[in-house]
């Protein structure tokens, strides 16, 4: 199996998740060894995923946890869950 650039792109996502078949993996890696552009694209996608996973992206609102537990506490004091006893 030999791939050119635009056939490699649809595999980038699965390649990162390691959900490609061994044969696909071999073909992708063979292409990446000789294609600087596709290697750079893969690196850029990977880098973007690392950055988006950072806690600084979509920070929790200040006081979120306290407010959540306060609300839960009020509910717990009020009633048992359905099917619960006590």
């Amino acid at each position: 199996m030999k791939l050119d650039c635009k056939h490699v792109w649809p595999y980038i996502s699965d390649y990162i998740d390691d959900t490609v078949t061994p044969e696909e993996r071999r073909a992708i890696e063979q292409h990446l060894e000789t294609c600087e552009i596709c290697s750079a694209i893969l690196d850029s996608v990977h880098n973007i995923l690392v950055l988006t996973a950072d806690d600084r992206i979509f920070r929790l609102p200040l006081g979120y946890s306290e407010r959540l537990h306060e609300r839960i506490g009020a509910e717990l004091a009020k009633a048992a869950p359905d099917g619960g006893s006590g």
Partner: protein
């Protein structure tokens, strides 16, 4: 993993028998997950916080129906998605629409770059950069954004996401591929200005200022 579920099942049984306060401990590891799941649908963090609270309360009330067929976190995620989606429908602020059927018109080719050096996460200390990335995620079509955040921020597996969204694993993969490509296309042109400087002798050779 199996141990965690066993512990959670034990806590759930005790909560149902009357040790209600244990619910605080049960959900503590998932506070962030629930918030991000709500954000993935609603985008606005104030609305997402309300939805997260409501989802937790619904999970508490329905705790007796959790059978342990899925992970507790997956069950909680599904409840949160339902809560957030029903709020979105009510607000009618955003059109809920899946692009999966019309996706063939879209272009999922990446932005072409000739070389890429790792941009370190510390760069995100700069608010405007973090905001840019957040905006790009918020701008994704809803069904792509959900899958993207569940996978790439919450690190759920493809199968867990499929279970939580009640769709096939294959559809999850398709949406994820599209989301990642759209983000690369949008962010790479912007982020490449942040790339660490090329070493000096290389820039002489390459003639790049």
């Amino acid at each position: 993993m199996v141990q965690a579920l066993a512990k959670e099942m034990d806590w759930i049984a005790r909560i149902l028998r009357g040790e209600r306060d244990l619910f605080h401990e049960l959900i503590r590891p998932y506070e962030r997950t629930v918030f991000l799941t709500a954000v993935s649908v609603l985008r606005d963090s104030t609305e997402a916080e309300d939805a997260a609270q409501e989802a937790m309360i619904k999970a508490y009330r329905a705790l007796g129906s959790f059978r342990g067929d899925a992970k507790f976190s997956t069950w909680l995620t599904a409840i949160t998605l339902n809560e957030a989606r029903s709020r979105l429908r009510k607000s009618a602020r955003v059109r809920v629409e899946s692009l999966d059927d019309t996706g063939q018109e879209e272009d999922f080719t990446p932005f072409l770059v000739a070389d890429w050096r790792e941009i370190p996460s510390e760069t995100l200390e700069r608010e405007e950069l973090a905001q840019q990335i957040q905006n790009a995620i918020e701008g994704l079509p809803p069904s792509y954004r959900e899958v993207f955040l569940l996978r790439d921020k919450e690190e759920m597996s493809i199968d867990e996401i499929a279970q939580a969204l009640d769709v096939t694993a294959n559809l999850v993969k398709v949406r994820l591929f599209r989301a990642r490509m759209m983000l690369q296309k949008q962010l790479a042109p912007y982020l490449r200005h942040e790339l660490p400087q090329r070493r000096r002798w290389l820039s002489w050779l390459g003639g790049r200022a």
